[in-house]
Amino acid sequence: MSKRETVWHETLISDASPDGSAVLLRELIAHLRQNQSQLREEWARRITEARLLTAMSKDELFAEATAVYDQYVEALETGTLEALQAYARSLSERIIPRGVETHEVVGIVLLLRDVLARSLFEKYQADFTKLDRILDAYEPAANRIANTVAVGFVQERERVIRQQQEAIRELSTPVLQVRERLLILPIIGVIDPQRASQLTEQLLRGIRTNRAKVVVIDITGVAAMDATVANHLVQTVEASRLLGATVIVTGLSPEIAQTLVTIGVDLGKMNTVGDLQGGIEQAERLLGYKVVPLDASGT
């Protein structure tokens, strides 16, 4: 990446003609440096106006705007985007937890691009050919910078998402023994194929180590289920049967019941009970338990 950036910059610099883009770029940078405080303020004003980055206070916004501006000009000057990339990443790291959206980040970078372009129009309005050439030098560089910041932000976001997915996956689903030979497997949240196979593995192992005869799988906490996951559930039930355990599935929500019937998953072999309590009661019956209140005064 950086190699390509350098090449891009060198083509600009090595343009030997006196009016070459390198010269123009230098002139441009000098202009941006001279007017930096005014341009920064203009930029910060436009950001507030556009109601972007509302999660940040005015001072914070201005501090970040200053830093981004400096990085921006530096990237234009040196032609290397690495520093800017690193800055974009650390900025993203700071602002993502505060709920800043992608469109806001892209928005502010594009605003900066607009603010700077306007100032160029203003400066060179008398000399249209020069303005044209200045823009020739400015636009590709500016676009590339905008691209880098946006990509940096999205990458950082994706990294956070991946990290969170990993964390969710590691929240193992417990296989709990509630009575001798009776296991409960409460499933909460989204089941993807990977989690589904992990669940099955844990359950089968649990059946073996606890010598379970009946397993209650409670899916009250599962909001949605697709065909793949439903089939996986059926497979889990079958595999448990092969180990000699009966499975009772409880807590199928109306939505899931509808989906399963609509997509035509064969649930004929599944033993389902409305809620967890009913499931446990049925399991107790299967195991020969009878639960009676201790206070027998009623009888």
Partner: protein, 120 residues
């Protein structure tokens, strides 16, 4: 690899010791359906704890053994399927339909005893 078949009271217990070839399975089938009547057994337990792979032929043969033994007037239970094997089987669509299964030999024996007691 011959599968030893032990008589334990009114039950026959076949313990698979290692992976079985197709030929071994056919041999086992033949031995079981003969022994079940000659030994006047009420139930048969096939212990597959040592099998770390169960292909379609093996599972079909086990189903056949169960059905044939049923025709010969006894019950069959398959015990000791390993969790990994069970998972692999259902993924291949092998579910041993209609065959009773249990966790291990002990479970299998208590199942047959219970059934035998309630029948008697």
């Amino acid at each position: 690899m011959e599968v030893p078949v032990l008589k334990q009271g009114p039950f026959l217990i076949a313990t698979v010791q290692a992976a079985l070839s197709d030929e071994d399975l056919v041999h086992l089938r033949k031995a079981m359906i003969e022994r079940v009547v000659t030994s006047r057994s009420l139930g048969v337990i096939i212990d597959v704890t040592a099998m770390d792979i169960m292909d379609s032929f093996a599972s079909r043969t086990l189903c056949e053994i169960a059905q044939m033994i049923h025709l010969r007037g006894a019950d069959t239970i398959i015990v000791g399927i390993q969790p990994e094997v069970a998972f692999a089987m259902v993924q291949l669509g092998i579910t041993l339909e209609g065959v009773v299964t249990a966790l291990d030999l002990e479970e299998g024996l208590s199942y047959l005893k219970e059934k035998f007691d309630s029948d008697a």
